[in-house]
């Protein structure tokens, strides 16, 4: 089999970069948010939870449309871009990261929140009686106990970003090496009837999705066993 041309490798590399950066950013943002959602008694926290979950239900076109405006010269994205002399965050890798963070957020927040909720009050109370500060209790007790949830969230966030299509199609501009990721490259190959290339990427995606879901099931099983 001939080695894949750069127009195959480019999107694969870019997709992995995008998903990795998005996942890391999501863990940083989603973990404290999930902690707050799990622990807070604020009456309006479910409203926040609902807002975070919206991308799960909304069509990507809705996100894409608002992102195109928000990232543009009239929106906050344009203001941010002007810091380094650009006019818009659309058509940039940064723009794709922002879009991916928003659209993958619910898939990361939900499992982490559930994991924090499952930890319950008891271990934290015990930590407190042992004179652990709340901060220390979070890092040494809650976080390790919730680690399966974090792992699940990270895997789901990564996988969902790899599978993101509609948002990227609408704000990406299809630039090789910068915004042409696997999903949009497949769309392009199919539209231009390059079946062989489409097949290579699409087949890879199927294998990847299979591996991710299988890994999730195995992780789940292993932790269930460990919990006894």
């Amino acid at each position: 089999m001939p080695s894949p041309p750069p127009e195959i490798w480019g999107p694969i590399k870019l997709t992995i970069e995008l998903a990795t950066i998005t996942t890391l950013a999501l863990l940083v943002v989603a973990t404290p948010l999930a902690w707050w959602l799990a622990r807070s008694r604020a009456a309006w926290k479910e409203a926040v939870a609902t807002f975070v979950s919206l991308p799960m239900v909304l069509p990507p076109t809705v996100l894409g449309f608002y992102l195109l405006i928000a990232l543009g010269p009239d929106g906050p994205g344009g203001a941010l871009a002007s810091l380094w002399g650009a006019r818009t965050l659309a058509f940039t890798f940064t723009g794709l990261v922002i879009g991916s963070i928003i659209s993958s957020m619910p898939f990361v927040v939900q499992p982490i929140r559930n994991a924090f909720a499952a930890v319950g009050d008891r271990p934290l109370e015990v930590a407190a009686t042992l004179r652990a500060s709340p901060r220390r209790a979070f890092w040494t007790v809650a976080l390790p106990l919730a680690s399966p949830g974090l792992l699940t969230g990270a895997v789901l966030g990564f996988a969902h970003t790899v599978g993101e299509f509609g948002v990227i199609l609408m704000i990406g501009g299809n630039i090789p090496g910068r915004t042409r990721v696997m999903s949009t490259a497949i769309f392009d190959f199919v539209e231009t009837m390059r079946w062989r290339e489409a097949n290579m990427l699409a087949g890879g995606m199927v294998a990847f999705a299979f591996a991710v879901i299988l890994a999730m099931i195995l992780i789940e099983k292993r932790f269930a066993k460990a919990r006894g």
Partner: protein, 247 residues
Amino acid sequence: MKLTAFATAFLALLTSLPAEAGGVTHVAVAANFTEPAREIAALFKQKTGDQALLSFGASGAFFTQISHGAPFEVFLSADEARPEAAVAQGFAVAHSRFTYAVGKLVLWSRVVDVTDGEAALKAGKFAKLAIANPIAAPYGTAAVETMKALHLYDALKPKIVQGNSIAQAFQFVDTRNAEVGFVALAQLYGITAGTRWEVPSSLHTPIRQDAVLLKPGADSEASKAFLAFLKGPEARAIIERFGYALE
């Protein structure tokens, strides 16, 4: 009691919807022809009672769908190559193909002055130039040909952002995410914002837009009537008004 009244009214509304007697044709329309196609379909319905249900997208995307059995009955492409291929490959009815419009390419900007488009492209005082996907959309092909004819393609290439169809290229310029872009003149109908430069037709292959009757519509009276109407004086007046040339 109230509920029954409501239900009856609702049912009456539902049953009244398909009450029109005319036939229906499913038409795949190249994105640049969206607005004129809407007007033509409205007039067509008014005159014949038949209904044309329009889908809009990139010609290349439609061709792929049609070659895989999409249930479109009429195809209004943005080029002549795809309808020709549809006939050659047996997806369309032989001898039904004709040119319904000749498109005009425009450089448009809401940020910089492109009244002298050639000079503006040479000066390159913009970060992003939007075009339609040159492989899937004929207006994108014409845009690339134009830049090549001006010997500016290599210089401009890093600034190019592609819309999936000409509609998306328009959207990129309209939201000012891209400062300049190549769009179809028809898309600028009724728009006064920004500056524009009509690309001389000598700079690219003419954008002859062909219509064709597809196999699923071979026996559909409504589809044939729609194509006949498209050739007629009323439709041609609309097409011309939107800035297309006619053959």
